[in-house]
């Protein structure tokens, strides 16, 4: 293994290439970057020398000189759901295409960690930043925004738009389709069992608008933060039982992706059958989830496109035109599967 076994990797430098080619570093640099004209023969010599030595430019040095990093930061609340993966893929591909490197970190919903990670990214001098963060952490971004580094918040709530531009998926149309379909199936009362985050998202007003247009009533319940624990499952079961005992109980329930499986299990434990006793609609889906072939009806966004749009926003910003406070990207679609059926007879 030789030198490598020490874990000390001394890499070839431009200086070495230059001297092997018998030219100055300036010329070597110009020959390799192609910035200015270089005589053909010398260019060839340099090229050869570089290849022979296996030269790889040190981007850190290069970027330091050019005072930019060609690096983008992305902070996620967690990787807990495959949903974010699709977004991450989109972001990753787009940034690669444009020569940027994406630096991804997860904060595990810990507010302090968010601060730390963002500081870390700033120290790495990211050219811009993407954030997926809980609504109450909007002002976590304050110090970051103050540095003048472009930062875009994704999947956020409108309340965060004051701090930094927001990129959100427009699900209104898909929600309307879902509501209309439920109305056709004789549903009258629907429940949105949302996470604390969901409670302030644009899903609530969208559901209400759609419902009133279709003659439905929307109820809102905040589910406990899902950690996947059985305690959560029981809490949700209790909550659902309470809701379903009311005079005019909901006959359909909307849930966020991250609570979906808990809800399913809670329902199974009660036991309430889907869709005979209760129809179910899940917000969010990824290719991977789809591949499981679960019968969940969903309102699904093209996360890859969201990633690409986010990238475009940032590129434009870096090019001089900052994005509006809120950018809506309208690609959510309503996908009906077996979890939705006619409202049960009274």
């Amino acid at each position: 293994m030789g030198e490598g076994s020490k874990g000390v990797a001394r890499m070839v430098t431009l200086q070495e290439v230059a001297s092997r080619a018998g030219v100055s570093v300036s010329t070597a640099s110009r020959a390799l970057t192609g910035a200015r004209k270089v005589s053909v023969e010398i260019a060839e010599q340099v090229r050869l020398a570089a290849e022979g030595l296996g030269y790889r430019p040190n981007q850190a040095a290069r970027n330091l000189r050019l005072s930019r990093s060609m690096t983008l930061g992305a902070v996620f609340s967690s990787f807990s759901s495959p949903i974010y993966l699709d977004f991450l893929e989109g972001l990753g591909r787009a940034s690669q295409e444009h020569g940027y490197t994406l630096l991804t970190m997860t904060a595990h919903r810990d507010p302090n960690l968010y601060q730390t990670l963002i500081q870390h990214l700033l120290e790495r001098r990211v050219d811009a930043l993407f954030c997926v963060l809980p609504p109450e952490l909007g002002n976590t971004l304050k110090p970051c925004v103050a540095t003048g580094v472009p930062v875009v918040t994704v999947f956020g709530q409108a309340t965060n738009a004051e701090c930094a531009p927001l990129l959100i998926v427009d699900e209104d149309e898909a929600i309307l389709q879902a509501a209309s379909r439920l109305a056709d199936l004789d549903h009258r009362t629907i429940l949105y069992l949302c996470t604390p985050e969901g409670a302030v998202s644009s899903r609530v007003p969208a559901l209400q608008t759609a419902a009133s247009r279709c003659g439905l009533v929307v109820e809102l319940e905040v589910a406990p933060r899902s950690e996947g624990a059985t305690a959560d499952q029981e809490q949700i079961a209790a909550l659902l039982r309470r809701c379903l005992c009311r005079p005019r109980p909901p006959t359909a329930v909307f849930v966020d992706q991250c609570t979906a499986s808990l809800v399913i299990r809670a329902l199974a434990s009660l036991p309430i059958r889907v869709p005979e006793d209760l129809s179910l609609v899940v917000f969010g889906e990824s290719d991977w989830i789809q591949g499981l072939g679960l019968p969940w009806s969903t309102i699904r966004a093209d996360l890859l496109e969201v990633g690409q749009t986010g990238m475009r926003l940032i590129l434009d910003w870096l090019a001089g035109s900052p994005p509006p406070a809120i950018t809506r990207i309208g690609t959510a679609t309503w996908i009906e599967r077996g979890s939705v059926g006619p409202a049960p007879a009274r």
Copy 2:
């Protein structure tokens, strides 16, 4: 938005801190890093100046000077499965703890992209590299290894161990338990429906050893690469039908995580009931998958621990002691769920 709206972020430099504190950059540096002694009052002045200006050290410059990057690269074949996420989390946390930044990229199983990404990471002067790559791409690492940068391959095949140290999960014990349980349930022939990668993995010999100890026969079939397409599902269905028509058909099937859902759907289409007609065991599971509450029996590894172990390997390597060619980490466990039952009567 002021300056920020231009996307031009000029950040505070040590030079500015120094002059505000009325000292030299050397002293400012020493005060902040705490490397050498600095008089208490001056230290305080510097600290104050830094805080007042919102100074954040430029890690790129710092690392350039120290000729290291404090950056680790990780190349994944894809993010397609949540399985890798757990590993990624483990790696991410561990590297964070040790002050390293993790640079993650996905190659979408494209050999050329692998090369590109690795070059990219080398240009970023990563201190070390993790790779999850298809077995046929083992020598993709050659040029990388030649640079002397420590690189560890994870979830790889023994054939790759020639190129770079390998970190693999030891599933032998768990496989033995599964086999033994199946034998108790009167199964005699089991099928391993593996991906092309799986065909050369340590799972095959482990299964064979376990089977012969328990008096079982193992058959091996290579499933088409799963892209989630319906064509794949039909291929798998055809393959399964063929297998099950043999004289002594398998009564239990082992599948890799990435083909599990396809197989499930293929079985449903045939239709073959699980576990009445066929028992099913899936290699691999993540918290997220578990949360779905699917009745799959699995052989599950602690991916978080794999990530941490990977990190330790690299740290030791960087500290001077390269890892052995193969490191086995033995945390896989056998988890029995509803997909396993008695062998059907003949």
